[in-house]
């Protein structure tokens, strides 16, 4: 363990250390974790799970990619438009389904106003679960990258994923 304070502005602490083990493992594991997150989102109606759990697992899989390949590289790969669109689309779908039931004569978010049988209501619930999953995963991914960038007007230039370097240094 180091005995002086770790200063993130020093050059030695900001170098992103490439580790073949982490990169290979993440490259193998991340598609399965992402698929599992989507499964939990879709299958929340019939077993444990749902929108929140699935959204968090999907966000965690993207953050794993951030650990392995560097935060700046991942930031370029996940385009900013995709994250923003995920949040906006999820929120809009949720509210539009609610307003749609008001237009059909019921209360806000009253699914029986659509006049569907119970299978139709199950499809509406699935769509809302997907919307919630999109919101949660978009916000959590955005929060991670925002925290990693830090305060933008302090005059320092961007970190080169000092967090990977920090973890490796901390566990050595």
């Amino acid at each position: 363990m180091s005995t002086e304070e770790i200063d993130p502005t020093k050059e030695v602490n900001r170098i992103y250390v490439e580790s073949t083990i982490i990169m290979t493992t993440v490259r193998l594991v991340v598609p399965f974790v992402f698929a599992y997150g989507l499964f939990v989102m879709f299958h929340g109606a019939d077993s444990a799970g749902g929108g929140f759990q699935g959204g968090v697992i999907v966000a965690a899989s993207i953050l794993l990619v951030g650990f392995a390949f560097g935060i700046d590289a991942t930031r370029i790969w996940i385009s900013e438009l995709l994250t923003r669109m995920a949040i906006v689309t999820g929120g809009t779908i949720f509210v539009l389904i609610g307003i749609g039931s008001v237009l059909n004569g019921g209360a806000f978010l009253d699914y029986s106003a659509y006049g569907l049988d119970k299978t139709g209501i199950k499809y509406i619930i699935e769509i809302i679960e997907l919307a919630i999953g999109a919101i949660v995963s978009g916000v959590l991914i955005g929060l991670f990258f925002t925290l990693a960038k830090g305060d933008m007007r302090s005059g320092e230039d961007e970190q080169k994923s000092a967090e990977s370097g920090q973890d490796q240094e901390a566990t050595s």
Binding site: I6, G49, Q53, G91, T119, I125, G138, F144, M152, A162
Partner: protein, 179 residues
Amino acid sequence: MLVTITLQAVLFLALFIALVAVALRDVLNSIIAFAVFSFAVAITWVLFAAPDVALTEAAVGAGITTILFLVTIARTVRPSSEELFESIGWRGGVLAVALMGLLVVTVPSLPAIGSTSAPIATAELTNYYLENADTETGVKNVVTAILVAYRGFDTLGEATVVITAGLAALIVLRQETFL
């Protein structure tokens, strides 16, 4: 009986790990102990027959919260010191013991754990949801049915809280967009 003994063991382990997380001085040690604490609590939720809560606690507590903590101490500073444990402060100790004493006085009046005459477990509303969730919504998981169908407005409020937290983090850090 086996479930009870396992529950007591896991709860005791979670308490011990929480004490360790608070007592260690280095903040990285505390974060790692907090991740283990989240796992122990997730196992507790499974033993209490709450699998949705266990999934959420494991993913959120041991996953996202730990990752965010690690990014924060990588972005700021991890102060080093020579000692392993924190020093005991008396102000916090007196206040914590006072609050614990107040709460412990109320514990004997609560029903025993798992008793079938507990008010939450036998309420009319609970029976209504358990019987009618499948026929009215077609969803077998009653927790999802309540979250999205019967109490959907609260879920909309929760989605609003999540989005607002993202916006608040952006404003505090003076950035203009995510990523």
